[in-house]
Amino acid sequence: MTSTSTSIPLPGAKAPRRRRVNWEMWGWLYMRFSGVLLVVLIFGHLLVNLFLGDGVKAIDFAFVAGKLADPFWIVYDMLLLWLALIHGANGMRTIINDYARGRLRVVFLVLLAAATVSLLVLGSLVLTTFNPCPTGTPADLLPQFCSTL
């Protein structure tokens, strides 16, 4: 009997496979987790801006500036911006993949990505650099606390 060394994998041993990130699974999971958070956040957003007080009639620069002077609303709106826009963009991606084919599909996906990224950057810049009492703006447009500064 000649001695040979051939390695035979044990029965039931896992085939060596390259581990890849399953992006579709994470996207699926993201829709559900962000969805639950968005139900709460958007309900609060609509309650404060459309339901309580004078509703939509109360909204103007002074109203928004009064809210955004509080870091709570900066964080709140930042969460809304990122969670909602990525949730919406991922939903649109699914729909584009369902209905568009070939080059048209790629064009739609590129437009979607461009719109999403630019609005995330724009919204984040607005929220992080916001000034509730900008100089050069008539005092009657500003929230009341600006006059006491």
Binding site: R32, G35, V36, L38, V39, I42, F43, L46, L50, F51, D54, G55, V56, K57, I59, D60, F61, V64, A65, L68, L81, A84, L85, G88, A89, G91, M92, I95, A115, L119, L122, G123, L125, V126, T129, F130, N131, P134, T137, P138, L141, L142
Partner: protein, 141 residues
């Protein structure tokens, strides 16, 4: 069997079905909730794009923001906001139903019941919001 006898045996008449059967999905609650989820989702997405753009005016042009937001207070836009809240409410409640179907053991079995619960809660939500919005839009200053 003679040809005479065979001619007397009439084939049973098969009525063509008026609607497709044998499917739990097509034309039923499952399909329509999917259709409504897509339509409301797309509508909300395009509103979100505009909403981020108009709100961004607060950073660069307060007067301009006030001009734009005034247009949201007109009767037509006021009715549009009812449509927006209706779309968001349905998408949110049906989204929770989808999560229940995916993560609860009994979810798939009670999906049809949950659809009607979604519709009922949606009606309650709108019964609360619509009168309030009509007061804001058409009520006095």
């Amino acid at each position: 069997m003679s040809t005479e006898a065979a001619a007397k045996i009439r084939a049973p008449k098969i009525k063509p079905l008026k609607r497709p059967v044998g499917t739990l999905y097509r034309g039923r609650e499952g399909m329509w909730s999917w259709v409504l989820h897509r339509i409301t989702g797309v509508a909300i997405f395009f509103f979100l794009l505009v909403h981020i753009l108009d709100t961004s005016l607060v950073r660069i042009w307060p007067e301009g923001y006030n001009v734009v937001i005034e247009s949201y207070k007109t009767p037509i836009m006021g009715l549009g906001e009812i449509g927006l809240v209706a779309a968001i409410g349905l998408h949110a409640l049906n989204g929770l139903r989808i999560i229940a179907i995916d993560f609860l053991r009994i979810g798939p079995r009670i999906q049809r019941l949950m659809f009607w619960i979604v519709i009922a809660l949606w009606a309650v939500l709108l019964a609360g919001f619509v009168p309030r919005q009509l007061m804001h839009i058409f009520g006095g200053e």
